[in-house]
């Protein structure tokens, strides 16, 4: 079994673990403590990086949906499912870390802000995606329906954001100039910016590593399924 473990994956595992360690150290030791918010601002580095990873997962799912419908290659179905699972996990981390930050800064765990609402609706879309897959036994049909729903779901995300954005927002925009009316906005020092970019990079590596693991798992599961069928014959 050990022979089958891809060499590239071993290297990627090690690189990702190393990056995560460095990123954590940078967040706590290198980046300065924010003047107004204090330590709780540290959540920002992993909050944005997790949400970014989540979006990346859903994007991967939508793209592999299109590729699946074009090629009917079950490989893309495995990749799509992997994207959704990883995306849901990191989106949830994004929501939870956001709440931890919002409690002291906004004085509430939750507010009906466009970003928060859109992110949570997105999470619900992909929960529905998993339920749809669970309800269908034939693997080929499951893959087709999953692909269609991943595409439809991903398209609605920006529209959901737009439809709610017409209300006022209090979510700070750190990148690209912040709106002074938002609560908890701050300007990044160079060290903060470097740490932020580094944690985005780290999380992208984490995403790639997990995706590889999950796709490999999916393929192995497929193989087990085929062997079981062969055994029954």
């Amino acid at each position: 079994m050990k022979r089958n473990y891809p060499r590239g994956l071993i290297i990627l595992n090690l690189v990702t673990i190393g990056l995560l360690l460095v990123a954590t150290l940078m967040v706590f030791l290198y980046a300065p403590v924010e003047a107004v918010m204090g330590m709780v601002q540290k959540v920002f580095y992993f909050h944005v990086a997790s949400t970014w990873t989540g979006m990346l997962g859903f994007l991967v799912a939508a793209v592999s949906g299109i590729l699946y419908l074009r090629s009917k290659d079950s490989k893309w179905d495995v990749v799509g499912l992997a994207g959704v699972e990883i995306g849901m996990f990191f989106t949830l981390i994004g929501i939870i870390t956001g709440s931890i930050w919002a409690r002291p800064i906004w004085n509430t765990w939750w507010t009906w802000d466009p970003r928060l609402t859109t992110t949570t609706i997105m999470e619900l879309i992909y929960a529905a995606y998993l339920m749809l897959r669970q309800g269908i036994e034939e693997p080929e049909k499951r893959a087709r329906f999953g692909a269609v729903y991943a595409i439809v779901g991903f398209i609605t995300v920006p529209m959901t954001f737009l439809s709610i954005r017409f209300f006022r927002t209090i979510h700070p925009v750190i990148i690209g100039g912040s709106d002074p009316s938002s609560t908890g906005a701050f300007d990044m020092t160079p060290a903060m910016l470097q740490t932020f970019i580094f944690s985005l990079l780290t999380y992208t590596f984490v995403f790639a590593t997990l995706l590889w693991h999950r796709v490999r798992l999916g393929k192995l599961a497929e193989k087990v399924e085929q062997l079981k069928l062969a055994l029954n014959d």
Partner: protein, 228 residues
């Protein structure tokens, strides 16, 4: 067999005619939607204490929640009939364009939605002594229902093929139609407050964009949903 020229529109019309004729004889779909819609309004009346003051702000919301909930009943039923009696297989065997089947089902679902709205609006007006006869509101309801049945028909044709079909449609549909429903509620609120339609332009634009995008998407992916 290659579909003949002009057969797209004819097969689409044939499906609409079939659905409307079946409905005219059985009256089971629209009547179920109507009774359900009235019950939802009654529950809202007591849940929200719909006095004159509250109604000014929540009428649009009540109407759209009613349409959305009653709509899923119609969508589920309209597809389940095809699936259960093997009609869908028959339709798929016919040498017609698959998207003609989709647009036929979609337009008859739209007809059912609008029929329900045509009855619910006067009833609501009568109950609460408000005038809902407003051409701008009709436009908003049309745009909202169009987007709703566009996505709804696509998703319900997937949901009926799943083991968990009775519970699946609302779970699949609601998160995806959320932007449309939000825009429809906001646009209706503006219209019902007596403001000019121009004030709701952002929401109307969003609804039109939603409708156009999903008509195109459904056109492209419906083949994959009914493929055997």
């Amino acid at each position: 067999m290659k579909p003949r020229k002009g057969s797209f529109v004819r097969s689409m019309l044939a499906i609409i005619w079939k659905d409307l004729a079946a409905e005219l004889r059985s009256r089971e779909l629209v009547s179920a939607m109507l009774v359900f819609a009235l019950l939802v309004i009654f529950i809202f009346n007591f849940a929200l204490e719909l006095d004159a003051q509250a109604r000014a702000t929540v009428t649009a919301g009540v109407l759209w929640v009613t349409f959305t909930f009653a709509g899923t009943i119609g969508l589920n039923r309209s597809m389940a009939v095809e699936k259960d009696r093997g009609c869908l297989d028959g339709l798929l065997l016919a040498p017609v364009d698959r998207s003609a089947i989709y647009f036929g089902k979609m337009l008859s679902n739209l007809a059912f939605m609008l029929m329900m709205a045509v009855i619910i609006l006067p009833v609501y007006s009568l109950f609460y002594n408000v005038n809902l006869f407003n051409p701008a509101l009709v436009l908003v309801i049309f745009l909202g229902s169009l987007g709703y049945v566009t996505v709804g028909t696509l998703l319900s044709s997937m949901a009926v093929q799943a083991r968990t079909r009775d519970i699946l449609l609302p779970i699949l549909l609601f998160p995806v139609v959320l932007p449309l429903v939000v825009a429809a509620v906001k646009a209706s609120t503006v219209v019902l407050a007596g403001q000019p339609l121009g004030d709701a332009l952002a929401y109307l634009n969003l609804m039109i964009v939603y409708d156009v995008i999903f008509i195109a998407v459904a056109f492209m992916v419906f083949d994959f949903v009914v493929e055997e």
